[in-house]
């Protein structure tokens, strides 16, 4: 039996509700899923909780998964949407900096570092829809078509969001760009 056939059997077992198959998929993909999420939410503790939420959603909707398709791609779509929902829920806390950024603010003044911090600060203040799209398009450099599929929106919506995010960031940072 080929490894592809073994994998297919494994995915079929997962779809049928086999918890061992799910455990195996969980252990295989948990680090990858966590990595995708932490880059979007920028909070390691929240990312761990959201990784669990992602796999919980995956487990609950396993019956809708087609075993002939890529589990990784499906998991990524669920993870991005879980992270996106988290950003929407925590939108009111966007003014809060991550511990890493907080530590940086206490450091000695450094123009390059200040510029980086200004960009990161403006970035985390973007509305959730723009922030997730900008993260995937500008930072992770994923193709627009893939982003559209991940977020379940049209290609035009992705382009529009990237444009709006860039314009907002430019506006936010215009002050910093002015000669002092």
């Amino acid at each position: 039996m080929t490894s592809r056939a073994t994998q297919l059997d494994h995915l079929r077992a997962f779809v049928a509700g086999d918890e061992r198959a799910f455990e195996s998929l969980f252990r295989e993909h948990q680090r990858e899923v966590y990595g995708w999420i932490v880059r979007i939410v920028r909070d390691p503790t929240a990312a761990e909780d959201l990784t669990i939420d992602t796999f919980w959603r995956i487990y609950r909707s396993r019956a809708r998964f087609d075993p002939s398709r890529s589990f990784g791609a499906w998991a990524r779509r669920v993870a991005v949407n879980v992270a996106f929902d988290h950003l929407k829920r925590s939108g009111r806390d966007r003014s809060r900096l991550t511990p890493i950024e907080d530590a940086g603010l206490a450091a000695a003044p450094d123009p390059d570092r200040d510029a980086q911090r200004s960009i990161v600060r403006a970035f985390v203040h973007l509305p959730a829809t723009l922030r997730v799209t900008a993260q995937l398009a500008l930072v992770d450099e994923r193709p627009y078509q893939e982003i559209a599929e991940l977020l379940g929106v049209s290609l035009g919506a992705v382009k529009s969001r990237v444009f709006r995010a860039t314009r907002l960031l430019r506006r936010e940072l215009a002050e910093w760009r002015q000669p002092r």
């Binding site: 966590y34 920028r42 990784t51 990161v120 970035f123 500008l138 930072v139 450099e141």
Partner: protein
Amino acid sequence: MNDREWQTMIKNAVDSERFPELDRDLWPRMQMRLAARRPSPSAWDLLLLAAIVLLSVAFPNVLLNMLYHL
């Protein structure tokens, strides 16, 4: 600064913050979530089960009659 340079600057700034990789297995937490959400029998289910057991012990024929009529 053109769009491309601008986007490179955003990427470099946002990417400069590195987050630690996941250094532990989250499966035990996942198992707890699975166990917590697994439906447990309600008090009525348990009461009904107890009644059936008592009935079948006290009046074994009743159970046989019920099975016959099913």
